[in-house]
């Protein structure tokens, strides 16, 4: 342990000055703690920053830990800072994010193919908001189009620790519902001249 302060005090201080989530490895080295010490410190801090009684909460997001204000205080914070919340995303934007989260990294063309409509403008907007980023290129496709993936800011905005925090794609729609879709399509096809 460093600086004569308790483990949770050190971890708390480091988290306070960091705007981004701090990875456990960084906490270990910065606070000079071992794994057990860090876990105890985080456990105590989770108790201390209980959302029911504290204006500050400890979140596990984007592969790290972050101190943030309690959402119940959001309106007061926004009045204090004199800023409005960013415009909510459109339905199309959530669809693009869902595509990339579950099927990505993928190209703009692949996103448009899944959605059935050109999605370039939506993708551009999401890149500007730092929710999507180009992470490489699809070398096997002509022109090697850029591959897009979700970002750390996306995980923070979705309050997710990692991709694994989202329900699997296969569980999002029940088999019965899918069977009904197929049935309806079959009916429709049989009625076509």
């Amino acid at each position: 342990m460093m600086d004569g302060a308790g483990p949770e005090v050190l971890v708390e201080a480091i988290l306070l000055v960091s705007e981004r989530p701090v990875e456990e490895e960084v906490l270990l080295s910065s606070a000079g703690l071992d794994r057990d010490g860090l876990e105890r410190a985080l456990s105590r801090l989770l108790d201390k920053y209980d959302a029911r009684s504290s204006g500050v909460v400890l979140r596990r997001v984007a592969g790290g830990w972050q101190l943030a204000t309690n959402p119940r205080c959001a309106e007061a914070i926004e009045r204090f800072r004199g800023e409005a919340r960013p415009t909510p995303l459109s339905g199309a934007a959530y669809e693009v994010l869902s595509c990339v989260l579950y099927l990505g990294p993928m190209t703009r063309g692949a996103i448009s193919a899944v959605r059935g409509v050109n999605s370039d403008a939506v993708v551009r907007n999401l890149i500007e908001r730092n929710l999507l980023a180009e992470v490489g290129a699809d070398e096997e496709s002509p022109g090697a189009p850029a591959l897009l993936d979700v970002t750390e800011d996306f995980l923070i905005a979705a309050s997710a620790g990692s991709r694994e925090d989202f329900p699997p794609l296969e569980e999002l729609v029940s088999e019965e519902e899918l069977a009904r879709v197929r049935e309806r399509l079959k009916d429709h096809a049989s009625k076509e001249p």
Partner: protein, 239 residues
């Protein structure tokens, strides 16, 4: 007769956009806003609420709005159709019912994923991080007595001559180089000479001295130095 407000005064407040209606049209035409994200019915309702009942040119304003709104409907309907692709160019042709079902199933899942994400984003919107990234703090001045003494001694002692051992002995004079430049210009028949040509084969000191000689000749009005852009080619020509 009272004139109604022009269409340019019509302001729109919808989920994806807030501002003048005409700018909304411009954003859509420039593909900076997807037309299928714009709720057209809401747009028409907004216009009807904003509309002046009496006015000399209300009909003209209505006609303008109807014209642009119709174009939006057309654009939106086109954007909602799947892109038509030519089977002859190697892309897919007619889609089988099975393929279509697979695609729809995938889209349905993605759509559900989107709904799930919307919920998570709405829940997460109220969190504000603990603080902004801090600027690195400037180091505090720590006065080391020993280093202070050394600095003081250096300040009040005579400066030692710096060693010039690493610099080659200069064997050319500016006059000689000026003569070289004059000779080169005379031989060029009035054509501008590249500085690179002048100094070809010279070492760094020679190049620097040639430059100084050229500047000296230019200041005396004997030659002109031309450089069309910063760091561009330098040329020397008779004045």
């Amino acid at each position: 007769m009272i004139r109604s407000r022009p269409l340019s005064d019509f302001h729109v407040e919808i989920e994806v956009y807030s501002g003048p209606y005409e700018w909304l049209l411009a954003l859509i035409l420039r593909h900076e806003l997807e037309v299928f994200e714009v709720p057209l019915r809401e747009l028409v309702d907004l216009y009807l609420r904003d509309r002046d009942e009496v006015g000399a040119d209300t009909l003209e304003r209505d006609t303008d709005f109807a014209g642009s709104a119709t174009a939006l409907v057309l654009l939106k309907s086109r954007s909602l159709f799947p892109a038509m692709e030519d089977p002859a160019d190697g892309t897919e042709g007619e889609v089988s019912a099975e393929d279509l079902a697979d695609r729809l199933s995938l889209y349905l899942k993605v759509r559900r994923g989107a709904e799930h994400l919307r919920g998570r984003f709405e829940e997460g919107a109220g969190y504000h991080p603990s603080g902004h990234a801090l600027e690195p703090r400037k180091g505090r001045l720590r006065v080391d007595r020993r280093r202070l003494e050394m600095a003081t001694r250096r300040m009040f002692s005579r400066l030692e001559e710096p060693s010039l051992a690493h610099i080659d002995r200069i064997t050319l004079s500016l006059e000689e180089l000026a003569a070289v430049i004059r000779g080169a210009i005379a031989g060029s028949g009035g054509r501008p000479l590249s500085y690179e040509e002048l100094v070809r084969g010279m070492d760094r000191v020679g190049r620097a001295l040639t430059f100084a000689a050229a500047v000296s000749l230019a200041s005396e009005g004997e030659v002109r130095l031309l450089q069309e852009e910063p760091f561009g080619e330098l040329r020397v020509m008779p004045a």
